[in-house]
């Protein structure tokens, strides 16, 4: 799954570690999502959506 997480993170001036802390996951999780090696769980996707004030379908795009 493609994601706009890296772009959103940059727009909000957040490092991977800072975003990970806000989402209560590891930095590796954020890195894997950005590299499109890992698809987040639905609860995590909603958490990301809430954090950036966007619906999840605008952040994650199916390949």
């Amino acid at each position: 799954m493609k994601s706009k997480l890296k772009v959103l993170r940059a727009e909000h001036d957040l490092s991977q570690a800072a975003l990970a802390e806000k989402l209560e996951v590891s930095r590796q999780t954020i890195n894997a999502i950005e590299k499109e090696k890992y698809d987040p769980s639905l609860p995590l996707a909603f958490k990301i959506g809430r954090l950036f004030g966007m619906p999840i379908e605008d952040i994650f795009i199916e390949d």
């Binding site: 800072a18 996951v25 590891s26 950036f52």
Partner: protein
């Protein structure tokens, strides 16, 4: 809900209670694995070398088995409490490790029909422990590439 952009080093270095709890559980699980492995080794040494009275053979032999229940419970706590990506690596690694372990045992089993001695219970423990490590490493490396 827009978050205020923050990207300071202080913010990142601030200890997160969530992450530190995870680390504590992971370390506790690893510590119990070591304690269990040590108890198993000592138990075997004491029994094989007859360092204890014969009446204590059974309790000493079964002590590591009883301890293993607690060790697996600690591993379970680690597994369910860990971050979801780390849990995926654990799951993938466990499947690979189990498959690899079974494959090795099947090969041993086939060889035993040719007269080559098969593995005993201790050998199987080592085989599965090593396969678990191989599984974890392979998945960690594949995701970090």
């Amino acid at each position: 809900m827009k978050e205020t952009p923050k990207n300071t080093a202080e913010e990142h270095s601030a200890s997160s209670p969530h992450r530190s709890k995870e680390t504590k559980v992971a370390l506790r699980s690893a510590a119990w694995c070591l304690i269990w492995a040590t108890s198993l080794t000592l138990s075997e040494i004491m029994i094989i070398n007859q360092l204890i009275p014969e009446s204590l053979f059974w309790p000493v032999a079964f002590f590591p088995a009883a301890l293993s229940v607690w060790m697996f419970y600690q591993f379970y706590l680690f597994y369910v409490g860990v971050d979801e990506f780390a849990r995926k690596i654990q799951s993938d690694g466990l499947v690979i490790g189990f498959g690899l372990g079974m494959f090795i045992l099947i090969v041993f089993s086939c060889l035993s029909s040719l007269g080559i001695p098969g593995p005993n219970a201790s050998d199987m423990l080592v085989v599965f422990a090593l396969c678990y490590v191989v599984g974890q490493l392979s998945r960690t490396l594949s995701y970090s590439r």
